[in-house]
């Protein structure tokens, strides 16, 4: 794979990933476009710029670990990993079909390069903490990145994990909240508001960085800053737009878990040309 720190290149890859997301969910006639599109720059920047990893050697001991807590957004992860060369791009459209490696939620049995099987919200951060502890015990340089949904952090286990991470001073882990303000039943603010969210994480002992999650240089800078913080974990609150990049999907709760029709797919791809 060709890694790059050039924001224009990362934006180009993000556009390709967004096209994959739309196409694979359309082909599957099911899936979660909104939260995949909101997390695109975050995941692409991690895999193409920030993280130490090698698609030719997915179990490299010194690799960084990536966990997608919000497993339903796996189209963004599958597309990005395929673009990196972990898995075939030409099979992305088998998403959610029987026998496909691209299961409905990330499944390590089908893609061993995945770090965790997720899909039940609230568990990814805890798994990541275990990996971060193991890396520290083994004196490995591995850092662990966990992307959580904003709705996901309504799960109590996330706050158990938040307490654990700061108590154990896991500065080799960064948690990224894809703060797109929408969950399945509607707007987060109407379902179970999270604010003041930065204060919540600060009070749990975390270093907090707040960014626009679609601003690639800001995303790069946040990961760089996280790597310099010592003695405490970092959370990046990434303000994003659900459905980002497809005008009729943006900020509309309908597109949390609805597949586009063929016509809608064509419209979306035109916008992402």
């Amino acid at each position: 794979m060709n890694k790059t720190s050039n924001p224009a290149d990362l934006a180009e890859i993000s556009k390709r990933v967004r096209r994959h997301i739309i196409e694979m969910i359309t082909a599957a006639k099911s899936g979660h476009p909104g939260g995949s599109l909101s997390a695109t720059e975050l995941v692409v920047t991690l895999f193409f710029d920030t993280m130490r990893h090698d698609p030719a050697n997915p179990k490299w001991a010194d690799r960084d670990h990536f966990i997608l807590g919000k497993g339903h957004a796996c189209p963004v992860l599958y597309s990005t990993m395929a673009e990196c060369g972990y898995t075939p791009i030409d099979q992305l459209n088998t998403f959610r079909r029987l026998g496909s490696i691209y299961q409905g939620h990330p499944d390590v049995r089908f893609i061993p390069a995945l770090e965790a099987s997720t899909g039940s919200l609230g568990q990814g951060l805890s798994i990541g903490l275990g990996m971060a502890l193991a890396a520290r015990l083994d004196h490995r340089p591995s850092r662990t990145y966990v992307v959580l949904g904003d709705g996901e952090i309504q799960e109590g286990q996330v706050w158990e994990a938040a307490m654990f991470a700061s108590f154990h001073k896991l500065d080799n882990l960064a948690c990224i909240v894809d703060y797109n303000k929408i969950q399945l039943d509607g707007f987060v603010e109407d379902i179970m508001p999270l604010e003041p969210l930065a204060d919540k994480w600060k009070s749990f002992g975390w270093h907090v960085i707040e960014i626009n999650g679609h601003d690639i240089p800001a995303v790069q800078a946040a990961f760089a800053e996280a790597a310099t913080v010592k003695g405490k974990p970092t959370v990046i609150l990434a303000h994003t737009v659900k459905g980002k990049g497809v005008s009729f999907m943006e900020n509309n709760p309908k597109w949390h878990g609805t597949a586009p029709s063929k016509e809608e797919c064509e419209l979306a791809l035109k916008e992402l040309a």
Binding site: D107, S120, I127, G130, A132, F164
Partner: protein, 321 residues
């Protein structure tokens, strides 16, 4: 043949203590062993390990769900993680995490639930696990072990560490009679025939193994020859031993410190149904929660003593005739 001389049933340590000691032994030889506990290490006896290897012990606080998933993360990253709490807490509060972070991805996590069953006594039903073996058996890919005494618990912990894949081991709070000499071999999927006999077979695990031996001694004095099998491997279960017991004895009593409805009795009955159907009776907790009391008083009230097993055996024999 008089069977009373075979087992002295001298009182030994609680199996949680044997677990704690076994962990320390493992820790000395295997630097990959790490241990997590949820503020009960003085009770689960993971404090022995914490004292010896503080850098490999992770205090998780009273947060079992997080602990289980942290353990899965440690194991997924190459460690052999043991997570421990009371059975009632680690399995019930951590069940979804056991399911999604350990069983489903087949992570090499080791789970030890102490204070299992109702023999914890005074603390009462909120701390008593009467459904833990059933829950653990509901996790595809999990190995489930329920040892009866000191030697078998130590062996179980070593088996758990050597086995690649998730394991649940059930331990108890109260002191337990010694049944096995140190060094007795155990294996995943195995069982031990402790007493030979042909009129019926008593299949027990955990605390009920010693009671089964006492019941067999009583039955022997009545002229009834009872085979006693320690079914310490709950999953996989020793199908061959069950089939042989059913064929050779024609009657089986299953005794366990667990809900009867979903316990090992049901699993044994399934195996018998698939191999050699036979008369069966069940000793266990009957669709209820127990209550506070001394361990002795509680197990007596809820029918888990040798006399209850002997009564079930007589009933089975009466049906057989």
């Amino acid at each position: 043949m008089a069977v009373s001389t075979n087992y002295e049933l001298k009182m030994g340590p609680a199996t949680r203590e044997s677990f704690g000691k076994a962990l320390v032994e493992l820790g000395k030889t295997n630097p990959n062993i790490v241990v997590c506990d949820a503020d009960l290490s003085k009770s689960t006896n993971t404090n022995f390990f914490a004292k010896e290897f503080p850098e490999r012990f992770f205090q998780c606080g009273i947060a079992e769900a997080n602990m289980v998933a942290v353990g899965s993360g440690l194991s997924a990253a190459g460690k052999v993680a043991f997570v421990s709490s009371f059975s009632a807490f680690v399995l019930n509060k951590g069940f979804e995490q056991l399911r999604v972070t350990a069983a489903y991805p087949n992570v090499n996590l080791k789970v030890v639930g102490t204070h299992s069953g109702i023999s914890i006594g005074e603390d009462g039903p909120s701390q008593m696990s009467i459904e833990d073996l059933s829950l653990a058996c509901n996790l595809p890919g999990f190995t489930v072990l329920s040892p009866a005494d000191d030697a078998s618990m130590k062996a179980a912990i070593h088996l758990a560490a050597e086995h690649k894949g998730p394991v649940f081991v059930r331990a108890g709070r109260v002191k337990t009679p010694l049944i096995y000499p140190e060094g007795t071999p155990f294996r995943i999927g195995g069982s031990h025939e402790l007493l030979t006999g042909g009129d019926l077979a008593i299949l027990a695990n955990g605390l009920l193994v010693a009671e089964a031996i006492k019941a067999a001694v009583q039955l022997d004095s009545e002229g009834i020859s009872a085979r006693v099998i320690d079914l310490y491997s709950i999953k996989p279960i020793d199908r061959e031993a069950i089939d042989r017991a059913a064929r050779e004895c024609g009657a089986i009593v299953v005794a366990e410190e667990h809900l009867k409805d979903t316990g090992i009795g049901a699993r044994v009955a399934q195996v018998a149904a698939e191999t050699t159907p036979c008369i069966m009776e069940f000793v266990g907790i009957d669709n209820t929660y127990a209550e506070s009391g001394t361990p002795e008083a509680v197990v007596e009230k809820y029918g888990l003593l040798a006399k209850d097993i002997a009564a079930a055996a007589r009933k089975a024999l009466a049906r057989k005739k």
